[in-house]
């Protein structure tokens, strides 16, 4: 959108909104529209000199703003909001569809009702919504238990798979909320074993039981601020260097890394941080030669040892 059209867009949205929020202050209105109070004041001034051609006082938009807030006295035909643009309809509808499949305290029936209302209100503008989707990948049994525990405010016992340590751990958690980043859902909960807030991937919850006791999240538990992303590296983590050839490129799409360098022969040298190196060892085993660990040497050796052991089980000794 060009600047002028964006400005007009805001004004056309402002008048209807102010009408149903009478008495709102300049600061609140400015915050709602994401502009400075100065900008909003100029917008109101502009509005009050616009209206019908004769431009007598009765033909102009009439907005008053005093200390007790903004009042729209005469909106001059622009009292109602402009119909939804395709992007606007799509954004909300795709968001609603994504939400419908996620566990949480919201009622899926309410979501369905809203989808219907919005499609009705959007008309043709919603046509493109069939062409964009966010898939949710949630194991249904675990999701149901999470949903119930949040709805009934009761604690949850889970069997949780930690692939990097190849363990299934049994723990009681106090659910706080579900976080869905793209297609993956996570349960953010107070873990009574770790005595800390943890993020559990719902598709790794092997089984879950809703307990009788209530959720008891201690006051010191803090929700994660998601603006930094779900996972933050720690300076105490181990630095690992891995080199990958063309078949191993997917590594850079799969893990967050510190930096990557392309070598002369097209090999990628990737440096990443991790608190637990075992999962990298498994990842390299998974790569089947498409990548190898350069550093630390003990980790590279552990991969060799494991691969040799497994080959021996097949009656195969590797050529030296």
């Amino acid at each position: 959108m060009s600047g002028g059209v964006e400005h007009l867009s805001r004004l056309l949205a402002l008048v209807p909104w102010l009408r149903t929020h009478p008495g709102v202050s300049l600061d609140e209105a400015a915050a709602e529209f994401g502009v400075t109070t100065e900008r909003l004041t100029k917008d109101l001034e502009l509005l009050t000199v616009c209206g019908l051609p004769r431009q007598g006082p009765e033909d102009l938009i009439d907005i008053q703003y005093w200390s007790d807030g903004i009042q729209v006295l005469d909106p001059q035909t622009i009292a109602r909001p402009l119909r939804l643009a395709p992007d606007e309809a799509v954004a909300l509808l795709v968001g609603l569809r994504f939400l419908r499949d996620l566990p949480g305290r919201h009622d899926p029936l309410i979501v369905d009702g809203l989808i219907a209302k919005l499609q009705n209100a959007a008309g043709d503008a919603a046509a493109a919504v069939e062409q964009i989707a966010v898939s949710v990948d949630v194991a249904s049994d675990a999701a149901d238990a999470v949903r119930r525990s949040l709805a009934e405010r009761r604690a949850l016992r889970i069997d949780y798979l930690v692939p990097s340590r190849d363990e299934v751990t049994d723990r009681v958690v106090d659910p706080m909320r579900v976080v869905a980043q793209d297609g993956r859902s996570y349960l953010e909960a107070w873990c009574r074993v770790a005595e800390a807030v943890r993020l559990f991937r719902i598709d790794r919850v092997v089984s879950a039981d809703v307990l009788d006791e209530p959720i008891a999240v201690p006051p010191e538990a803090e929700q994660r601020d998601l603006d930094d992303g779900l996972f933050r590296p720690d300076p105490d983590d181990t630095l690992v260097t891995v080199e990958v050839g063309p078949r191993g490129r997917w590594l850079t799409e799969y893990v967050p890394y510190e930096h990557v360098v392309t070598l002369d022969d097209g090999t990628l040298r990737v440096v990443l941080r991790t608190p637990d190196t075992r999962w990298i060892a498994r990842l390299v085993l998974r790569m089947g030669g498409a990548g190898r660990i350069i550093d630390p040497p003990e980790l590279a050796e552990s991969v060799r040892v494991e691969a040799t052991r497994l080959l021996a089980a097949y009656g195969d000794t590797p050529t030296p």
């Binding site: 007009l8 051609p53 606007e88 909300l92 994504f98 919201h106 009705n120 062409q131 190849d166 030669g289």
Partner: protein, 323 residues
């Protein structure tokens, strides 16, 4: 852009909506200050054309009508207030909270401004405050990222039904190759965006991961020229286009206290001394071999899976051999 231009556009909008009959160009020229003050007919025409384009670009239904078709009269302009306005929507507090969440999905992503604008239009009817605190209490925080640079142009191409071309580097390609696509949809799956559509060079349905597109996505034809076949469900297409052989069962020996990522998939377990023998369904032997090796399992049968694991392990050792 100048406040003056915004004023003029706003006055034009109000004027065209207020009239019960279409307004002629001559009347507009008299009524709107900037048109009146135009230095020439030409200057006025150009300004007026641009203004009409701007309003239509915003989705304002500016129509051109004839006063009286019999007399091939002057053309008149009008904005029908019922076509202009969003239909009234009623939203209760529970619904307002859910809508706020739905808009939040796009926070920090490409459609965030559109989501906010939509929410605000609805709030213009309901007067609700979006129920932000109420939304927080719903116990779910959904987000989608659109960090791939290709997302915006591809989303626009899908929305506008326009063909595209782009350089694409597949997982095994040493270099990017130009592809031409009639895009049908974009889908976020397992955290990554994909575009699905008709590949013009392969003459077949294809799927592309946006993260593997290199450089710009260019349009390759006019908007509205792509026909999406009836019944295409982009999300289902993405799931089905992933390779998937008919499932067979493998018997795998696993240590007692390990290989949990395989155990959770097992349909049966035969306990043994030191190790257990588990039966696990699988599709493609090559990708499953990677899973088995990474979990520390040893395959007893079938043979092709066994061979795949051996090859896989030899590959690891060849690569790990000190240089």
């Amino acid at each position: 852009m100048s406040a003056r231009r915004t004023e003029r556009l706003l006055n034009l909008t109000i004027c065209l909506m207020a009239g019960r009959r279409p307004v002629s160009k001559a009347e507009l020229r008299q009524s709107i200050a900037d048109y009146r003050d135009s230095v020439s007919d030409d200057a006025f025409e150009r300004m007026f054309e641009r203004d009409k384009d701007d309003l239509r670009e915003m989705g304002i239904p500016l129509s051109t009508e004839h006063h009286d078709p019999l007399f091939d009269d002057e053309v008149g302009y009008r904005i029908d207030p019922r076509a202009y306005a969003m239909p009234e929507v009623e939203v209760g507090p529970d619904e307002a909270a859910v809508l706020t969440l739905a808009a939040r999905v796009w926070q920090q992503a490409a459609l965030a401004p559109a989501a906010t604008a939509a929410l605000r239009k609805i709030e213009a009817y309901t007067g609700a405050d979006g129920g932000a605190e109420h939304a927080d209490g719903l116990g779910v925080e959904p987000r989608v990222a659109t960090s791939e640079p290709a997302f915006e142009p591809l989303y626009a191409a899908v929305r506008d039904r326009q063909p595209v071309r782009f350089a694409y580097r597949g997982p095994r390609d040493p270099q990017a190759v130009e592809r031409r696509l009639e895009p049908w949809g974009v889908v976020s799956w397992h955290g990554r965006w994909y575009v699905v559509g008709h590949d013009l060079d392969r003459d077949d349905t294809r799927l592309f991961r946006l993260g593997r597109i290199e450089g710009k996505v260019s349009t390759n034809g006019r908007p509205g020229t792509v026909t999406v076949p009836a019944g295409v469900d982009p999300a289902a297409s993405v799931r089905s286009l992933a390779p998937d052989d008919a499932p067979r069962e493998a018997r795998i020996r696993v240590p007692h206290a390990g290989a949990h990522s395989l155990r959770v998939l097992a349909v049966s377990v035969e306990p043994g001394a030191g190790t257990d023998l588990i039966t696990v369904p699988f599709g493609d032997p090559w990708s499953f071999a990677a899973d088995v090796v990474a979990a520390g399992g040893v395959v007893e049968e079938p043979d092709d899976l066994r061979d795949a694991c051996v090859t896989h392990l030899r590959g690891v050792l060849a690569e790990e051999a000190p240089r």
